[in-house]
Structure formats: structure tokens, C-alpha cells
């Protein structure tokens, strides 16, 4: 039996030492993740004119690797973009700390205590998935850490957790809106709902199914997995008298394939997608409809939003529907922290939490002002229906 070579023990010692460094670095304030130095001690505007010194870290949790990385990376890039612009415009010094969860609640419940232990982090963007929020909600509640999710839509989350906010409306808003459009404008008598086995999808599918059935429409349910390569078998079994196929999916590219295969097999059903499909670069089946919570993410009308979208595209590439809410979620937090700095107050987690609850962003790129109700849900959100024209452009129809 050979004993381990001494250099393995050395590697092990290095590993343990580094882990200890994590522990020590995580506890106190020096040099960890921020620009070094104090956490947001604000100096009065005596010296530097407009800019008030404001340093803080914002954590972001999401699936940055793994099979949901397309969603997570878009969210991360928009958050980085948001921080860059805010820092430029306001002279602040905010940094982003990443916490990769791969949409796994077990990883999320390891990242959350890490953020809580890191005294520099005073608020969190994310997590992305509703089930992750179930796992970490208590941890953030106990630490009075505000966390704003840009994408979780399960209906009961805001009530369950006090420090939870979200900038997107819930399934309870989207489902009935979509159902109404399908019954009234598209005169659908028979609808096939296909969910993709994620919690977002099944929640929304359930809400829409209930709304449709209440209106007397025949509803069939199927589901697919997000990893599935091929949908042609399901497409073949779509009945010829199905009017609408409702796809509350998260991955727009999957829906594009589904739509291609529908056309390939000569099926006439119209595709109706939820906000997950609002990604003009990935999904562009002419004649389909997509619902979204923002009237104007791609900046079709508003030049300011257009400039923003183009700046983003130059730096990071194309985007779909998950990015802009993350931009706003990050901005909500930064605005809250900045307002505390300007008043000369220490941005602690409790103070930020109070401020976030009072958020009132009138000029959000999502097209509606962002304010929160008592539980943390965003107020006044409604859904807009877009039609995909020939050539792939999205046109607002309602």
C-alpha cells in the first residue's frame, strides 16, 4: 500500500488554507469582492461635486452554467450592464458578486448563506427559479436581506417571504390574459397546452388551462422536457382540429423548432407563447402570438430604450426576455442604496430593505413604472400581446 506522496498533501494543505481564507475573508470586510475599504460609508458632497461616494456589493444568483445557462448568462450580462451604466451615471462604485446555482435549490441554499456571510453584500438579485426561492427565502428573511427576482412567477412567493420582491408579474396575471385573447380574438375552441416541466411552465399552464376551461374551451395537456432534441413525434399527434397550441416555455429556440416542425407536417394550429418566447432572435414563426409584460423591450418606439438595447447588443450580443427584468431588478436595488448614500445614511441591509419597498421607478425599460405592493409583487403590471409578422418582427396588437 503506497502512502500519498508529499506533494498531494501539499495540494491538500493549499486547498484547506484557501478554504480558511474564504472563511476569514468572508467574515470581515477587508478586500473581499468590493473595492476594498468601507462598505458604503457615504461622504457628504463637500469635495467631489455631484458624485457621492457609495460603495456596495450586490449579489446575483442564477444558472450561469449548466443546462439553463442561456437564461442565467443573459440575466448576468444585463445585470453587469446595469451596474456599469449606473456607476457611470451616478459616480457610484457598485460591484456584482456572482453565485452560480444551476437552478438547483441545493446549490442555491449554499450560495445564499455565502452571500449572507459576506458583509459587503447588502442586497441580492435573483434567484431565477421559483423552487430556489422556496429553498432560500427563509435564509434571506432572517438576514433582512432584500432579494429581487427577475424571473420567478409562482403566485404565492411574495406572500411567503418578507424580503422578497419581483419585477415581473405572476402567472395569475398572465394566464387569464392569454386565455382571454385566445378565446376572444382567436376564437379558439380547442387548445393544446404543452408545458416544459419547469416550475414556471407548469404553473402558467395550470392557470391558463383553468381560465380556458372556465370559458368553455376544450383543453388538452401534454408536456415535454427542456432537453428534448426532437418534437416531431408530439407534433404528429397534434390533432387537426386544434386551433391553438399554447407554449409556456422558457427556451424560445425550442419553440422555434416546434413551430418549424408544425409547418413541416402541415399542421394549421397557431402557436401562442408566453413571455419566455419573447425573443425575436430565437423565435420568429410568422403568424404566432406572444405575450409579454413589457410593451416595448426591444425599444421599437422609445429612442432611449432603443439606444440602451443597442448599447447592450454591441457589448454582449442578442437578448430575449430574461435580461431586461434583471436590468431593472438591479437598478431597483442600486437606486435604493444610492438614495441612502445621498442622504448620508449607512446602507445597511435593513435600510435597503425599507427603501426597496418604497421603490418608484417611473422610467423603467419594461414600459411600466415599477412599484411594489405590500407583499412584494410589482404593481400594475399587465400583459401585452404581440403578433409575429413575416420576417420575424414583433408587433403589438393588444
Amino acid at each position: 500500500m503506497t502512502k500519498p506522496r508529499w506533494w498531494f498533501l501539499l495540494a491538500l494543505v493549499v486547498t484547506l488554507a484557501a478554504l480558511a481564507a474564504v472563511g476569514c475573508g468572508g467574515d470581515d470586510d477587508d478586500g473581499e469582492a468590493g473595492g476594498g475599504g468601507d462598505t458604503g460609508a457615504a461622504t457628504d458632497t463637500g469635495g467631489g461635486g455631484e458624485a457621492v461616494e457609495c460603495t456596495a456589493s450586490i449579489g446575483i444568483m442564477g444558472p450561469f452554467t449548466g443546462d439553463a445557462a442561456t437564461i442565467g448568462q443573459e440575466q448576468l450580462n444585463w445585470a453587469k450592464f446595469s451596474v456599469e451604466r449606473f456607476n457611470e451615471e451616478n459616480g457610484t462604485d457598485f460591484t456584482l458578486v456572482e453565485g452560480d446555482t444551476q437552478l438547483d435549490p441545493a446549490q442555491a441554499s449554499t450560495v445564499a448563506p455565502q452571500f449572507v456571510s459576506n458583509d459587503d453584500i447588502i442586497a441580492v438579485v435573483g434567484p431565477a427559479g421559483s423552487q430556489e426561492i422556496d429553498a432560500v427565502g427563509q435564509i434571506f428573511d432572517r438576514a433582512s436581506m432584500a432579494f429581487v427576482s427577475p424571473s420567478a412567477t409562482a403566485t404565492d412567493l411574495a406572500e411567503k417571504f418578507e424580503t422578497f420582491f419581483r419585477v415581473v408579474p405572476t402567472d395569475a396575471d398572465q394566464g387569464p390574459t392569454d386565455a382571454t385573447y385566445m378565446t376572444e380574438e382567436l376564437s379558439a375552441k380547442k387548445v393544446l397546452i404543452v408545458d416544459d416541466q419547469s416550475s414556471y411552465s407548469t404553473g402558467l399552464a395550470d392557470q391558463t388551462a383553468t381560465a380556458l376551461e372556465d370559458a368553455g374551451v376544450t383543453v388538452e395537456r401534454e408536456s415535454v422536457s427542456q432537453d428534448q432534441t426532437d418534437f416531431s413525434a408530439l407534433v404528429s399527434s397534434v390533432a387537426n382540429d386544434t386551433d391553438v397550441v399554447f407554449l409556456p416555455w422558457q427556451i424560445a429556440a425550442n419553440a422555434q423548432l416546434f413551430g418549424n416542425q408544425l409547418a413541416e407536417q402541415g399542421k394549421e394550429a397557431i402557436i401562442f407563447g408566453s413571455d419566455g418566447l419573447f425573443a425575436p432572435d430565437d423565435f420568429h414563426i410568422a403568424g404566432s402570438f406572444v405575450s409579454s409584460f413589457a410593451p416595448d423591450i426591444t425599444g421599437l418606439d422609445d429612442p432611449a430604450i432603443q439606444e440602451l438595447a443597442q448599447a447592450y447588443q454591441q457589448e454582449y450580443g442578442d437578448f430575449g426576455t430574461f435580461g431586461p427584468p434583471t436590468f431593472e431588478a438591479t437598478r431597483v436595488l442600486m437606486t435604493a442604496i444610492h438614495s441612502l448614500c445621498e442622504e448620508g445614511e449607512e446602507p445597511s441591509r435593513e435600510a435597503v430593505l425599507e427603501r426597496v419597498a418604497e421603490t418608484d421607478l417611473q422610467d423603467s425599460i419594461l414600459g411600466f413604472p415599477i412599484t411594489f405592493d405590500d407583499t412584494g409583487d410589482v404593481e400594475g403590471a399587465k400583459f401585452f400581446i404581440f403578433e409575429v409578422a413575416e420576417g420575424g418582427a414583433f408587433e403589438l396588437v393588444e
Partner: protein, 478 residues
Amino acid sequence: MPRIGTDEWVAEQELRTETYSGLTAPARRAFDRVGPGPRFFAFLAICAIFPFTTDSDFLIRVGVNVLLFALLALGLNIVVGWAGLLDLGYVAFYGFGAYAYAWVSSEQFGIHWPTELAIPAIVAASALLGVFLGLPSRRLVGDYLAITTLFFLQIFVELTLNLDRLTLPGADEPLNLTGGPNGIPGVDPMRIFTIDLLETRDYFYLLLVVFALAVVGLFYLNNSRTGRAWRASNDDPLAAELMTTPVARLKILAFSMGAAMAGLTGTIFAAVQVGVFPQNFEVILLVMVYAALILGGAGSIAGAVLGAIVVAAVPEILRTPENSRYLFYGVLLAVLLTIVRPWKRVAFLAGAVVLFGVVVHEIVAAVWPDGVAAEASAGRLGGVLESWVVLPAENRTTIGNVAFVVLVLAALALTQLRGDARLLFLVPTIYLAAFVWENRLIAQPSVTRQLLFGAILVAMMTTRPHGLLGTPRVENPI
């Protein structure tokens, strides 16, 4: 009572101790003198003190994760290491234990069993399930068994995702067994003999107790008749069968015990996470448990624990850019120390690299000022590195990508060189590594984490195939 196979090792002890040399010799001699008992006790003592050295909930949570992994690896060790069965469905038992605990201790069905009843019941149920899974092992061998057990895992994942809308004939409401993609959140905390386990720290100690019991139990199991019978049937099943060892029954026993351990770990996991979700039990977890076991050395209890520490702790260190920067340069140094001997050469090499870097930096600064304009990421080393590494302000991503590909090719080419050529080629390669790190990798810690972890796995396996603490075996090359 002489222990078979051990006495020879004991007899050779003196000879072996005499051959220890170098700096670590006294430590190793002392280490050899104590038996496995005191060593394990010392390890446990360190673990027990650990939660008091820090008030960071995160570190304790990492400790909990390490212990969970260690228990999983120990259970897998029974099946894979001792009995030699490739079980790719192991995580299904973990998941079953977790879901079963959620069924009997949450609002899902409104049942709230006392923990003292729930845990033994679930362990027994997992063992039974393990027997059921072990039944195919009578007919299937090797990779065919592997694939069948993998199917069980896939079936388990599918069931957890879809059993929330099961419409049984004659029922009005669909049956919701597993909560579907949303899982079962809000599981009761454990309560053992009137002690409520509410904090992460409490679960750490619970896991430590379970871990200690498991290690002791497995140690004795390994040295018992059953353990020897497993080893015999692993080495040569036909011979073992002819020597009246009931190979088929032993296989099922191995499956069952592994399943029981996984089920137990699952219940504690469900309580720690305060919920149970299908995303917890995907194939990626299986891969990590196997990695832990094999890195540490399959067949060795200490190996399983060591592997679990590496697999659970290293990705957490790699999360923050600053820490992974230390780890990166630290590991670079450690690797240098191993491939370049003696250490004077390493010092010379380090000096050469620094010089090379400074020269390159100056040249680039003179020729193309934009090339060194950017700032290094924050951190204590950042300032130092800024004047050494070339940090272009424009096109950082593209340059970084190209440099990354070149680096990978260069590193591979390095493994083929020898002697002075290797030393010479090492200098620019190390500088290139620092360049890629500072410019590209450090900006994307999550991706870098996976990158480094994969590289570590490959490096560790190619240099030490039988794991850190495993015994080198020579397989029959067929």
C-alpha cells in the same frame, strides 16, 4: 486473533519507516505509529471544533455539504469499491430518502411522524428498495448492470417531475405525490429525543455523529467475513462462488446497504434544505459522488472521505474570483514543484517567468499603449499584477479567447517535452496562463469554476489513477 493480510503489512512496518526521509519524515513516522482509531478520533475532534472557529453560516453549510458527500461516497464505496458493482442509479436512493422524509414530515399529506420513527422506517424502506434494484444484478454484469441502474435513476427523476398530476381511474382530483417540478417545500425540521434541530450547525453535528457511526461500522464491516467475501467476489467471482461464497446474495446485500446509507443521508438532506426538489437529484450529482469516490480511491474509507472533501469544498473555493486567484497561482506553484526538481530550479524558473513578464509588459507598453491600459480585477494581488501582466483595454474578450485556445494547446504540448526544452517552454506558457487568467477567466468566475474543476479531475486521474488513498491495482488488460 491474526487479521488476514494485515500482519504482513505490520511486519514490514519497521522496514518502511526506516526508508522515510526528508522534511516530513518525523511527522510520517509519528503518523504511522498511531493506529487508525486515534487518527480517526483526531479527525473527528478537528471537525467538532470547526463550527466554533467561525460564525459564517456559509462555511458551516459547506461543512454540511462535505459531510453529506462523505456519507454518500461511503455508501457508494460499499457497492462500487468493495463489491465492485457499477451502480449508476445510486442517487435515486438518496432522492427516495429525501422524498420519503418529505412525505412523512410535511404538509404534503398532512402526516407528521416523529423523527425517531421516520428515519429508521425510511432507512428500512431504502434497504428494501435496494434489494429490489439488486435483483437484476443476478443476471447482469458490468456495464449492463450499470446501464440498468442508470435507467432506474432516470425513471426516478421522471417520476418526481411528473407524479403531481396522476389521474387515477375513478378519482376526481389528480393525485399529487411529489409536487412535480415545484417539489415539496417546507419540510419539518428534525426533532431527535426532544432536541430540536433548527440551525445549520445542529445538522452539522447530527451529520458528524452519523458519519462517525458509519465509519466505525464500515470499518468493522470491511474486516468481517462479509467484507472479505465482497473483496473475494470482486477479485474473482467464479473462484469465490466455488469457495461457497454466495456471490449473488452478497451483491444484493451490497446494493441494499448502499441504498440504506443513501436513504439515511437523503432524509437529513431534506431537513437541511427544508424542502425537496427534483433538480436536486440529477445525473450531475451522481457524477460528483463518483468523482469523490474515485479521486479518493475506491475501496478505502479514508479515501472516500478525502475525495468528498475535495469534490465538495473545491468548487466552493472556486466561487469567488479572489480566492480562486490564490488557488490558481498556488496550484500553479504546486504543479511546478512536482514536475521540476529540485526546488532550486523552481526558484530559477519563477525568476525567469517574472523577468519574462516584465520584459513583455514593457515591450507591449511601448509599442501599443492600449495594450496595458486596463485595470486588473480587485484584490490584494491585483495591484502587483497590473504592472506584470499585459491587460489590453480593447477587444479583451476576443484576445482572451484566442489566448485561451493557445494556452490549452501549449499545456498539452508541454506534457510531451522533456528536460531543458520543457523548462524553456514553461516560461512563456506560465506567463500566458497568467494572461488568460487575469484577462478572461477571472471575469467569469462561474464558468472558470467548471473549467478548473474539469482540469483538476483530468490532472488528478492521469497522475494518480487509483485515487489519492487507493491501492494500485493492475487490471488484466484484455
